[in-house]
């Protein structure tokens, strides 16, 4: 009998110790899933924007909507990378957490470049649009170069 109680007690203790660990790791996986989702969404809008700006498809009426979406989705990129979301299914480099200031700067630069593109879209000047769009791409690439591993 005592053995059984001790046994139960041990299970209980183990459970109490293990629980936060389990829940933290689950949470971290979800954070990563969310981040990937948002990044994919940005990529989708980027692809659409690119095709319109480069004159490959005629959907010019949709352009503002795509750029707007990108602007909102990139308002706070560092928030997508909280502490503890640095392990598991992620290609984020350690530099994201080791050099938060550089990362923040790069993220802001990207968001600013999208704001400029949005202004150009609202202004309706094609060459301005192409030039600002190029800057957006450079921002994406710059950040991925320093802060993301290849597949």
């Amino acid at each position: 009998m005592t053995i059984k109680i001790k046994h139960l007690f041990m299970i209980g203790i183990t459970g109490l110790i293990a629980m936060p660990v389990v829940s933290t790791s689950a949470e971290s996986e979800d954070l990563i899933k969310y981040r990937r989702g948002v990044m994919k969404a940005i990529g989708g809008h980027m692809s659409a924007t690119s095709l319109i700006v480069r004159g490959k498809v005629p959907h010019k009426g949709q352009l503002k909507q795509h750029v707007n979406a990108m602007k909102m989705l990139t308002n706070d990129i560092p928030a997508l990378f909280p502490e503890g979301s640095d392990f598991g299914e992620t290609r984020a480099k350690e530099a994201v957490w080791e050099k938060p200031e550089d990362f923040g700067k790069a993220a802001n630069k990207s968001n600013d470049s999208i704001t400029n593109l949005l202004k150009a879209v609202e202004g309706g000047n094609d060459s301005e649009m192409l030039a600002t769009f190029k800057k957006v791409g450079e921002g994406c690439k710059g950040c991925h170069k320093d802060f993301r591993e290849k597949e």
Binding site: I42, G43, S47, T49, K141, F147, E149, K150
Partner: protein
């Protein structure tokens, strides 16, 4: 006009013509240094190293290498090299003192460079600002002596300039040349245990790259390669880093683009794309599984 006047005018004329030619040669050399992807490895971007002053750490299965300084500094760089020294280094993998380079320096690809192009590169490199960054010794396993490389070369190194395919047009051959000297194959083609490229699977990608990451199959296979990318998609990607799905390449490929391919003119990028599109599509089984697994997981949802 007196004879003296005429002589002076002729002298000035030939001098300006020479200066113009020299200028052209330097520009051509710089373009080729970009196209051959020299800059990423010979510049230590991570530690804010000077342009082409070397020092970049390259971790490989055969030890850790530190790229040398190739600025015009006569002591630490290659300021004292003749054109022929550079030809020998790039085409044969042999240093001016006769020692053999480790093939982490991709002379296996650079051997395809035309001599006249290497001379242009040498002319340009002599104009690069000298920086006195000292070269760092490689950290290689004890058995990897320089002289072993002579044996390695004898067994595996095929020396020879690029030979255009007479059955193909100019653009195809230009693309083939640029893909060769851009040494795409060094990362994108799988290797065997001896470190030799498996040309049966030319450019078909690998599962575990130098940083443990997958390197994509860039043959036109529709399922596991870039067969769904148009020629324009490929050249636009090499210019900007933007993939057709709106994602941007990071890490090593972003460096290749930033330091190299984005400097190329559209015609050249188009030729590279045309060449890549015309390759034999190769299925990479490592990537098939991955995709099928993904699909199965999606089906469960």
């Amino acid at each position: 006009m007196s004879r003296w006047h005429l002589a002076i005018v002729l002298c000035l004329f030939s001098f300006t013509a020479f200066a113009g030619e020299q200028e052209q040669l330097i520009l051509k050399g710089e373009y080729l240094v970009r196209a051959a992807g020299c800059v990423s490895c010979h510049t230590d971007h991570d530690n804010k190293g000077a342009y082409l002053a070397g020092g970049r750490e390259l971790k490989t299965a055969f030890g850790t290498f530190y790229t040398p300084n190739i600025t015009s500094d006569p002591v630490n760089g290659i300021g004292n090299w003749s054109d022929q020294d550079l030809v020998q280094a790039l085409q044969q993998g042999t240093a001016p003192d006769g020692s053999h380079y480790y093939p982490v320096f991709p002379y296996t690809s650079y051997t395809k460079l035309r001599q006249e192009d290497i001379r242009a590169m040498a002319t340009y490199l002599r104009t690069v600002k000298p920086v006195a960054t000292k070269n760092r010794a490689h950290e290689t396993p004890w058995y990897l002596f320089r002289w072993i490389m002579a044996v390695w070369k004898w067994l595996f190194f095929e020396q020879g300039e690029f030979i255009p395919d007479p059955k193909q047009d100019k653009s195809y051959n230009r693309g083939a040349y640029l893909v060769a000297i851009g040494h795409c194959t060094e990362c994108h083609t799988p290797r065997d245990a001896k470190g030799v490229l498996d040309n049966e699977r030319y450019l078909a990608g690998i599962k575990d790259g130098p940083h443990g990451e997958a390197i994509p199959n860039i043959t036109p296979d529709k399922k596991t390669g870039i067969g769904r990318w148009s020629q324009d998609d490929i050249s636009y990607y090499l210019k900007t880093g933007e993939r057709p799905d709106g994602d941007f390449s990071g890490s090593l490929m972003a460096e290749v683009i930033d330091d190299g391919s984005r400097y190329l003119i559209d015609d050249d990028l188009g030729s590279m794309a045309l060449y890549l599109r015309s390759l034999q599509p190769v299925v990479n089984p490592d990537f098939v599984k991955k995709k099928e697994k993904k699909k199965a997981a999606e089906d469960e949802w």
